[in-house]
């Protein structure tokens, strides 16, 4: 018999199904749940209980990981509302966003090419501010506006930013690991 996995992440952690989240309440709920189901609590128990504990602890980790990050939370919430963010299939983007993306990409490539740590750090800072702005928009779209189509579009944009940041991090890593 497998554990009852039908509860959604919000329910599992006893939180309202909403994008706006109390980060401290989320963390508290996660730790409370994990302290009850973690395999460390069952290390001396029978095999069956250890297995069930592992499934639930993995489930709790998944719920926490998804809800903790704004992008993951938005994507999951949209999924619950029946909206597919289409991040892999839908690549249509407004032209001004695409323009800006291209500029960013060039700037990152230049900074990586010239091994310019400061420039990469600066770009990372800019990206952080842009992300912050988009997250505010996302909060409005998924909150009072209930504009889920706009939410999907913002999730796709944020995904772009994430990829760009990974690119910057790779560049920084290449610099940092050198002799």
């Amino acid at each position: 018999m497998t554990a009852d996995f039908t509860r959604n992440h919000f329910d599992l952690l006893g939180l309202p199904v909403a994008y706006a989240i109390d980060a401290q309440a989320l963390e508290r709920a996660f730790r409370d749940l994990q302290s009850r189901v973690h395999p460390d609590r069952f290390a001396a128990a029978g095999e069956a209980e250890r297995r069930v504990a592992m499934q639930w602890a993995a489930r709790a980790n998944e719920a926490y990981r998804t809800l903790r990050h704004p992008l993951g939370r938005a994507r999951y919430l949209l999924g619950l509302k029946g909206f597919d963010t289409g991040e892999d299939s839908n690549t249509a983007m407004p032209p001004d966003f695409l323009m800006q993306q291209m500029e960013w990409r060039e700037a990152v490539a230049d900074a990586r090419g010239s091994r310019d740590r400061e420039a990469l750090e600066a770009l990372k800072g800019d990206l952080g501010r842009e992300r912050h702005e988009m997250q505010s928009q996302l909060a409005r779209a998924l909150g009072d506006d209930r504009n889920y189509d706009a939410g999907c579009s913002l999730v796709r944009k944020l995904r772009f930013l994430d990829r760009l940041e990974a690119d910057i991090d790779d560049g920084l890593e290449a610099l940092g690991d050198g002799p």
Binding site: T2, H38, G46, A48, W56
Partner: protein
């Protein structure tokens, strides 16, 4: 006992119920065992009062086995049969071992993992490690006066799946009841955090004999949460010895030194390195195998110059761990030094410069890992005292993925995911009527399969005939609390269960472990049946007590018939535990485990319902 504590938090077991539990640090250069006595963790010494057991095993002619100091004394004159730093070979193939340079061993490319030809026959690194662990188990049993109920064995945080599996196999071979594999820096954090009542963000800088780990942890009241970990499982104090030895070889014209002389140079290099932590220069005289005497000297300045690159190599993983945790060096509230190699002054300076604060080194860097493991073992086995209710959340150090078209890696579980973790990925067929699919599991951060470590190859057979792209193959990765991966695959549209064949690319198969287990008992002349019976009895006692407590707490979750059935099986197991048939006992335990699965699941559901209900009451109260 763990079950009782769920219903009665903070209740500590009666003194006579305390179970014997130990933590073991299986190190590259030395190993040790610790336990918790009277509420404090302490290392256990051997009959001569020594705590550190050199991780050296000698397999002499005629089946002579020596472990520890006795073996180390022979390292210089019998290098080929005296195996040191074998931890570096765990879960590794011949190609991996080649990068350690000239070693005085006869390596054999055994299937799965490298093996070493000795005067006593072929030895796998797993068997060598098992001999070290068995010595520590015997020490602990003699010191504590009884059979161990549980052990926590530490591994470098950056160990990959094959290295972890090899360590777990070694513990099994050594007859240790393994409760958990624990990451070394995390163990150090437990010892440090509980000792100092620390809160905040800590970096654990752990440079051992052969491995380097850097873990970032958030310590809050009762929770040790690993935010990220990074490292280099082939960088340690040994490399500093090698650097000194190469320096001498180059400057004294000893380029073609024999195996014995190589070992002598390394032993001397290690002594000189240790002296240079407090002295400005050191010199030692060594007589080489041809009778020639050489004076080996080194100043601290020279030492720092020839090892500067090694020190720098620690900073790359350090940056990576910080970046993965989303932190800057200044965000770290404390840096804890672990591992004997962190005694080197220039390394300490480099760490201080990087973090902008002096590192913490008030706990013995050689013992802190074993002490932390002992504390964890004590808690896991059920000896938790009231107020000792802490939670440990660790992560997986390397990304896990699958090979896709074109030799590319599709990551399924990214590095630094909190464990345990389970995630599924869907794949489909490439050709019409395709009935089988090869699944290649890899670990690493690179995009190309060839740059990652191959963990296993599976073949999923029996896929029903469908057009290309119609089948839905769900491949599920599951990493348990030991950081060990298991992979399963099934076709979801038809629900047809397909078989999975596992061929480990590195590491030993279950059959090999079973064979070594048999050989080990023959070799040690131990009574295998007696040992097996003792182990099964410990298991039986545990499960009988656990289910008894579970029935007392939540027996109402079962129908009368179900309860009677479970109770009958408990009684049967308890009766067999009084007998001497270990095979029948093992079967009864397995049967009991199976029979209690549904009950375990229902109990966990109740726990979660109560947690949710409790939280709602909290919310109302607030």
């Amino acid at each position: 006992m763990a079950l009782l504590q769920i219903s009665e938090p903070g209740e500590s077991p009666a003194p006579h119920q305390r179970k014997l539990a130990v933590g073991i640090d299986l190190g590259t250069t030395h190993s040790l065992v610790a336990t918790v006595r009277s509420g404090a963790a302490e290392s256990l010494a051997d009959a001569e009062g020594r705590v550190l057991l050199p991780s050296v095993v000698r397999y002499g002619p005629g089946g002579v086995l020596a472990v520890g100091e006795a073996a180390r004394e022979r390292a210089a004159d019998d290098p080929a049969n005296t195996l040191v730093s074998v931890k570096r070979f765990m879960g590794r193939g011949v190609a991996d071992v080649a990068k350690y340079g000239a070693l005085p061993y006869r390596f054999v490319d055994a299937p799965g993992m490298v093996a070493i030809e000795t005067a006593a026959g072929l030895r796998s690194p797993v068997q060598v490690s098992a001999d070290i662990l068995a010595a520590l188990r015997e020490r602990a049993e003699a010191s504590l006066g009884g059979q161990l109920a549980g052990a926590v064995v530490t591994v470098p945080a950056y160990f990959d799946d094959s290295q972890r599996q090899a360590t777990k196999d070694a513990a099994k071979l050594a007859g240790l009841p393994v409760l958990r594999l624990l990451n070394e820096p995390t163990a150090a954090a437990i010892a440090y955090g509980l000792d100092h009542g620390s809160e905040g963000t800590y970096a654990i800088f752990d440079l051992g004999g052969g491995t380097f780990d850097l873990s970032i942890l958030a310590l809050t009241r009762g929770v040790f949460e690993v935010l990220s970990t990074s490292g280099d499982s082939a960088l340690g104090g040994d490399d500093f010895d090698q650097a000194i030895a190469s320096h001498w070889r180059a400057h004294l014209g000893l380029a073609d030194a024999s195996g014995r002389d190589t070992r002598r140079l390394l032993v001397t290099a290690r002594r000189v390195k240790e002296r240079l932590s407090t002295e400005d220069a050191a010199e030692e005289a060594v007589t080489l195998s041809l009778g020639q005497q050489v004076h080996l000297r080194l100043t601290r300045a020279e030492f720092e110059e020839i090892t500067a690159a090694l020190v720098q190599r620690t900073l790359g993983p350090t940056r990576k761990a910080l970046r993965d945790a989303g932190l800057k060096p200044a965000d770290v509230d404390g840096v804890v030094l672990v591992g004997g190699a962190t005694r080197m002054p220039h390394l300490q300076r480099a760490v201080e410069d990087f973090f902008g604060r002096p590192p913490l080194k008030d706990l013995d860097p050689d013992q802190v890992v074993a002490l932390g493991a002992a504390i964890q073992a004590n808690a896991l086995v059920g000896n938790r005292e009231a107020g000792e209710d802490w939670l440990l959340l660790d992560v997986t150090p390397l990304s896990l993925g699958l090979e896709t078209m074109g030799g590319l890696v599709e990551k399924v579980i990214p590095r630094n995911s909190t464990i345990p973790v389970a995630r599924a990925q869907e794949f489909t067929t490439f050709k019409d009527g395709q009935s089988a699919m090869a699944i290649h599991v890899v670990q690493g951060e690179r995009e190309l399969v060839s740059d990652c470590r191959s963990l296993a190859r599976f073949e999923l057979r029996g896929i029903p005939p469908m057009v290309a792209g119609a089948a839905r193959i769900a491949v599920t990765f599951q990493v348990d609390a030991d950081g060990l991966l298991s992979v399963s695959a099934r076709e979801t549209t038809t629900g047809v269960a397909a078989s999975v064949v596992v061929k480990p690319s590195y590491g030993l198969t279950d059959d090999e472990v079973a064979r070594m287990l048999r050989e080990g008992f023959d070799h040690a002349g131990e009574d295998r049946d007696a040992r097996a019976l003792a182990e099964q009895r410990v298991d039986a006692e545990g499960i009988v007590a656990a289910i008894g407590a579970a029935l007392a707490a939540d027996g109402d979750l079962l129908e009368a018939g179900e309860r009677a059935d479970l109770e009958a099986r408990v009684a049967a197991t308890a009766a067999l535990a009084k007998g001497t048939d270990h095979r029948a006992l093992k079967a009864a335990i397995e049967d009991l485990n199976r029979a209690s699965e549904a009950f375990a699941a229902r109990r966990m559901d109740r726990t979660i319902h109560r947690a949710l209900a409790g939280r709602r009451i909290d919310d109302v109260a607030r």
